[in-house]
């Protein structure tokens, strides 16, 4: 076997099915990383086709190669710097003209190109009749029909890619900009060629005429001594074009590219009827109706939580049971003498109770991510942005800011990354600042633990048919509080630190699509896997440290002796009945547990910081867990698990954490815990991403204002609440 290696880059508009095709090509052999220096996700994978090994790179979805968004810059730089052997442009063939716009730019760039006409099933069913052979000839680029989610045409696509790979794109055509522009363009191209770059000179010339800052910077690095001459000449030509054509050069270019596409399509595509949006428009007539839109949106959100809860909770209970069985089984390995074993305590009290407490919530997280994947894949997400636009306007943002916020309900980190689609820095920063108030999936375990402990499930019927649990209502209330706070805070930021006019809001609405099982499964799994991985790495490490802090220093012999003595006294009492004795023994056990904890390092730290949290109604145990939650929100649950199990007798029938909490605290404190967890400082990863995306000063502000807000609100609720109850 020859080991020939080639790199294929996949480009394409968002929603063209690029990810689906990428998955079809690479199967499970994928790796997710970042492009250097930016937080744009870089997916790579590999496969073999015939005797060639293919490295496949999934470029970010873009509509064009202008440097308006980080995605576009990343895509462009990858093509210019890494020079992949072949570029496959995934085209949604049911929306040909718009999708071919990117193709024209790739053609101008002169990369070896193959067009995948994806969604060919949809195109056919909508009455488009595309003569690929003819279109391929007109564009000078091979075209292969594909159906991404069925894997159809993928092998042929790779065949075509191998033929083109590495060859100079000699047959490729590109738009002709017409009599007024071409001569000038040609002249500038020659100038670029002489002074600067022999390669891609036409592309550079076009970009110079479009006054593209990135290109000027790039050429400035290649030939610093000529850049001034080039920009001056470009400026002169641009002025000329503007005076002749009456529009800015870049507008003319865009217009002519569409003209070029339109010309090719008129010859090669016949269309029985325009039906691409028929069904979508009908659905939209309801979903985006000016009166129904918002209520429908609210109901959908509620359904997401209701579903997550009613389906997920029984599974979580089952997992919780298994965790208990596992702890018992592992404990059993030590037998009677195991009570003092350090290793036993580490395994059972630390790892199983701590990491386990986080892991048992995996089913809930999966369901939540599944719901979000459904909203994204079906196309509803963009409608939500439309529906919410007016409300967002009131707080100085626009509908598009809402998409990162929705994603933030799954996890704040991808939410922050999704703010990159916002055009102005003001909008981005405001959105990032309030994003942690969108309660993320990692906070779900805290709510579930608290709700399970203090708010026993009750079911009642709405409209006589639909079952709603009080827990789902509580959860909905918490999320609603988060949203309300986000609105208020955003408004304040937009009125003070981030003043300015609202930015224009333009967004493409993809047609509605029935999400495929496979697509949903992949989206859900990618994010769930991150959650599991986090539990197995960061959280495991933190939990072990916390366990050690709770285990050492140990209580001295003489102190332990006091409890032994008390036990002996109780057992020796003749007149009391067995039940009373058992009860008093348990009291002593609890007191011993408490004493051991208070003596430990974590107990001492906790006691030191506890006064700060006392107004919120938190004792030192909750306070330490709250601090621990900075590492990752779900650590709160793990830490409570550790605190409440270290020091317990090994053979003791361990009751679930929620029962211990219910016995120790009041529902009001429970609510305060939820409120504080909702608002208080974002997790470590969020802070790190905020630093990268917005700078450390904004990150500091974010941590600071959220923590203060959390403390103040929780204190008010607790103080008022405890006087009322």
């Amino acid at each position: 076997m020859k080991d020939k290696r080639l790199t294929i880059a996949l480009a394409g508009n968002p929603n063209s099915g690029k990810t689906t095709v990428f998955n079809a090509i690479t199967g499970a052999r994928q790796h997710v990383g970042n492009y250097p220096g930016v937080t744009v996700e870089k997916k790579t994978g590999s496969t073999t086709h015939g005797d060639v090994r293919l490295d496949v790179v999934d470029l970010p979805g873009t509509y064009s190669l202008t440097a308006y968004s980080i995605e576009e810059v990343v895509t462009r730089n990858f093509l210019l710097d890494e020079k992949p052997d072949v570029v496959v442009d995934i085209v949604d063939s049911s929306n040909l003209e718009r999708n071919l716009y990117l193709a024209t730019q790739l053609m101008e760039l002169g990369v070896p190109l193959v067009l995948a006409f994806n969604m060919s099933d949809v195109a056919a069913s909508r009455g488009y009749n595309i003569d690929e052979e003819k279109l391929s000839e007109l564009l000078g680029v091979p075209i292969v029909n594909t159906v991404g989610h069925k894997g159809k045409g993928i092998s042929e696509l790779l065949d075509a890619a191998l033929v083109v790979a590495g060859k100079t794109a000699s047959k490729q055509r590109y738009p002709n900009y017409g009599g007024e522009i071409e001569p000038h363009l040609l002249q500038l191209t020659e100038l670029v060629e002489q002074k600067c770059s022999r390669q891609r000179s036409r592309w550079f010339a076009i970009k110079l005429l479009e006054n593209d800052a990135e290109t000027i910077k790039r050429l400035g690095q290649v030939c610093p001594e000529h850049i001034e001459e080039l920009t001056l000449e470009a400026e002169r030509i641009r002025k000329h074009i503007e005076s002749v054509c009456g529009d800015a050069a870049e507008i003319i270019f865009a217009d002519r590219r569409y003209g070029f596409i339109s010309g090719a399509c008129t010859e090669a595509v016949t269309q029985s009827v325009e039906r691409r949006h028929e069904r979508s428009d009908k659905i939209d007539a309801v979903m985006t109706n000016r009166y129904l839109g918002l209520p429908i949106f609210a109901i959908l959100m509620f359904l997401v939580f209701q579903l997550t809860f009613s389906v997920g909770n029984p599974v979580v209970d089952a997992f919780d049971g298994w965790k208990g069985d596992l702890a018992g089984a592992v404990s059993g390995l030590w037998g009677e003498s195991g009570a003092d074993s350090v290793l036993r305590s580490l395994l059972v009290d630390g790892i199983i109770e701590g990491v386990g407490a986080v892991m048992v919530f995996t089913p809930l997280i999966m369901l939540l991510f599944l719901a979000i994947a459904f909203l994204e894949d079906s196309g509803y997400m963009a409608r939500a942005a439309f529906v919410i636009d007016r409300l967002m306007h009131k707080i100085g943002l626009h509908g598009k800011s809402f998409i990162p916020m929705l994603i933030g309900f799954g996890c704040t980190v991808p939410g922050i990354m999704a703010t990159r689609t916002l055009e102005t820095r003001r909008d981005r920063i405001t959105t990032i600042l309030v994003l942690p108030l969108m309660s993320c999936g990692a906070r779900m375990p805290i709510y579930v633990l608290i709700l399970g402990a203090f708010f026993p499930e009750r079911v009642f019927k709405v409209l006589g048919i639909y079952n709603v649990t009080n827990q789902a209502l509580w959860l909905f209330a918490i999320y609603a509080i988060g949203i309300a706070l986000a609105i208020v805070c955003a408004k304040i930021f937009r009125a003070t630190l981030l003043k300015g006019e609202a930015t224009p809001f333009v967004m493409e609405l993809p047609p509605y699509r029935m999400p495929t099982i496979k697509g949903l499964a992949i989206h859900m799994w990618e994010r769930t896997w991150l959650y599991i991985k986090k539990a197995g790495t960061i959280i495991l490490a933190i939990v072990v440290v916390l366990w050690a802090l709770a285990y050492w220093p140990k209580l001295g012999e003489e102190k332990l002796g006091v409890f032994e003595q008390q036990r002996a006294v109780v057992q020796a009492e003749k007149q009391a009945d067995a039940e009373q004795i058992a009860e008093r023994l348990e009291e002593i056990d609890n007191a011993e547990h408490e004493a051991k904890l208070e003596h430990s390092a974590i107990g001492r730290v906790g006691k030191t910081i506890a006064p700060v949290f006392r107004p919120c109604g938190f004792d030192w145990k909750i306070s330490t867990a709250t601090i621990g939650a900075f590492a990752a929100k779900e650590v709160f649950v793990g830490q409570m698990g550790v605190i409440y199990s270290v020091g317990e007798e090994a053979d003791e029938e361990s009751e679930p954490l929620r029962e211990k909490l219910a016995a120790k605290y009041t529902p009001l404190i429970g609510f305060c815990i939820m409120l504080f967890s909702l608002i208080s400082m974002p997790c470590m990863v969020t802070v790190a991403v905020t630093v990268r995306e917005a700078g450390w000063r904004w990150a500091l502000l974010q941590v600071g204002y959220l923590t203060v807000l959390a403390w103040v609100l929780t204190t008010i609720v607790y103080q008022v609440g405890s006087r009322l109850v």
Binding site: T66, D247, A248, D255, D281, P504
Partner: protein, 84 residues
């Protein structure tokens, strides 16, 4: 194509159009270079036809070259169009 800017018909803001109407895009008031270019790349260049599909409480949904776009509340007041 050259005469598209000296079309003598008066222009009105997009916000004043009705659902189902087809109009011609004429330009954007107070738009920077970036915005105009971005719109052009999406297919919204002067002379292009757009159809009003839906108007919500503020934003509009319009059809351009077979794609649906949301134009936010602020945009619909700034975009100028010519009724057919």
């Amino acid at each position: 194509m050259n005469d598209r800017n000296n079309n003598s018909l008066p222009t009105i803001p997009l916000a004043m159009t009705l659902v189902g109407q087809t109009v011609t895009f004429a330009g954007v008031r107070n738009a920077g270079r970036g915005l105009t270019h971005r719109l052009a790349e999406m297919g919204l260049a002067p002379g292009e036809n757009l159809e009003i599909i839906n108007r919500g409480p503020g934003p509009f949904i319009v059809s351009v070259k077979g794609s649906r776009f949301v134009l936010g509340r602020g945009m619909v007041h700034r975009i100028l169009v010519r009724p057919e």
